[in-house]
Symmetry: C2
């Protein structure tokens, strides 16, 4: 594949950002940024490790790769502005499919008015996509080290849907309730960019996006903030129809299932009502799921009907005794 031709084909005809001085077409992109902080992150997605063409179309693969990056921007309280894509395309992948990957990205990019300003298309053996995103802080940075004692812990949307969708895709001989919903949550997750940005009037929020399961993200907040998080199992939001699956699956998907791209946050009790109002305004489901304490820093406890909580760890749990 002629990489230069390919880049030209997917190049935008116009750019959204007025601060962009030069997009694709020179050795690098140039943009002016006169005030405020910038935010940047990179993510890499490898075929048969992070996604499969058995369960995702090329369009979905592009869409979801960018969605994961936008979710990082949401988790920082940033407005996404620019992205750069490096992609290694197997020679045997038809050109139309390669283009579909970019169209999937573009569709999401247009929704959030962000610009593709750099790219590198190479050929390799394994489809590999690396996206760098650049955004601008919307007033306050939402670091995960900002949780404080007595904060309320909250979660957007419902958890476990994405892995449920993947399960349904892999077990297509069976019919499932609301299977289109779960599949869409897996293939085309919606990052919480608008909600995160609507929170800008609130001075302090600790925020993480749920890309690796709430157990992992909650532990990251607990560790970074030197606090413990105490979650109530019965409050953890799940889609009602998730109840069609076995308890064991549901538990695994809800706490350790990745790629829901919801937000997990902590905020002072004083601002909880404000956040609920913003959630209403932005059409965002939001649920209070727990509290923050200074005791047992770095730990996350999950309370259910049993007397003693479970200690949730990044990729597992321990029954306390």
């Amino acid at each position: 594949m002629d990489e230069f031709d390919f880049i030209k084909k997917i190049k935008q005809k116009y750019y959204y950002q007025s601060n962009l001085e030069k997009g694709i077409g020179d050795d690098a992109a140039v943009f002016n940024h006169s005030n405020g902080s910038l935010v940047t992150a990179v993510d890499m997605f490898v075929e048969d490790v992070h996604f499969s063409q058995q369960t995702m179309s090329p369009w979905d693969i592009g869409y979801k790769s960018l969605a994961a990056n936008l979710s990082d921007m949401a988790a920082m309280g940033a407005i996404p502005k620019y992205y750069l894509v490096a992609i290694s395309i197997p020679k045997l992948l038809p050109k139309t499919k390669a283009k579909e990957i970019f169209y999937g990205m573009k569709s999401l990019a247009n929704k959030y008015k962000i610009d593709l300003i750099g790219g590198d298309t190479v050929s390799g053996e394994q489809l590999t996509i690396s996206i760098t995103i650049i955004g601008q802080i919307n007033k306050h940075v939402r670091y995960r080290h900002l949780a404080k004692e007595n904060d309320i812990v909250f979660v957007t949307g419902t958890l476990g849907d994405s892995v449920a969708g993947l399960y349904i895709l892999k077990n297509s001989h069976t019919e499932y309730i609301e299977q289109a919903y779960f599949i869409k949550r897996h293939q085309q997750p919606m990052p919480r960019v608008n909600f995160a940005n609507a929170l800008s009037e609130i001075p302090r929020i600790a925020l993480n996006d749920i890309s690796d399961g709430i157990a992992n993200e909650a532990t990251e907040i607990a560790e970074a903030s030197n606090v413990s998080l105490h979650l109530k199992a019965k409050n953890i939001p799940i889609r009602k129809s998730l109840l069609q699956f076995k308890d064991e699956q549901r538990f695994k998907w809800t706490y350790f299932g990745g790629e829901d791209f919801e937000l997990l946050g902590t905020v002072s009790r004083d601002n909880w009502q404000k956040i609920q109002k913003i959630a209403g305004r932005t059409n965002t489901q939001i649920t209070e799921v727990g509290t923050v304490s200074n005791k047992n820093p770095g730990k996350v406890f999950l309370y259910n009907e049993e007397k003693l909580p479970i200690l949730l760890e990044k990729d597992g749990y321990t029954h306390l005794q």
Copy 2:
């Protein structure tokens, strides 16, 4: 490989940039940038496509990947500041080798005082490295569309060395004159960052880095600037010991050989003396190799002893008649 652990190991203990608010350790890096334009580019390198472990050590692979990005910054007239690395590592690659890749990058990063502020380490089948670089314009942007009629065309260093080095590495049964020199030029090229930045007092320069051979880069300048470039074959700078190779090889390597990471530029005659002085000050070999004309826009002509010039194209040439 536990990707989180790995990132922690290579995380810098301190950062060079005082404007950096948060490096590695949250969903994204945050930096403040109060004035001037920012520049960013991405490059991807795939094993057995862009490099081979037969001819490059893991350390060299890391070093050279970052060098290619720094060369893009030089070509834009930018001071490199930050970089982000996404890397797909085969499970069978020993951990020590994976770390060596980062040490190679770090060595060059330390030389130019740039900070690693983001990363994603995943496992895949084919070693794949994607680097995003962010820099700051040093007064003037050096777009390739800035060439003007009567400009002098210049080149830094010598051309064809990198491919000669690769040839030597692949034909190690033979002894070559200055073979260590050529091999080093292939494995550890030195991007012309310092020279490019020392040019900041000169208001207009068109600049490209020679990553794909001078024929390609000159054509890019000619096309972007809507001018023609006229190069004198006898002035194109080569290492004397390149003469040990056959005419045909030498011609191919000099005009179409990639990865020398020298700079090709055009500048008004009035500023030529100034540039020569700056080259002297920064210990940079610089050679006048041709001129710019408004006739035949988009074309590059190479003059040798024959009456009619050769039309140099991006990946070949045509004899004019």
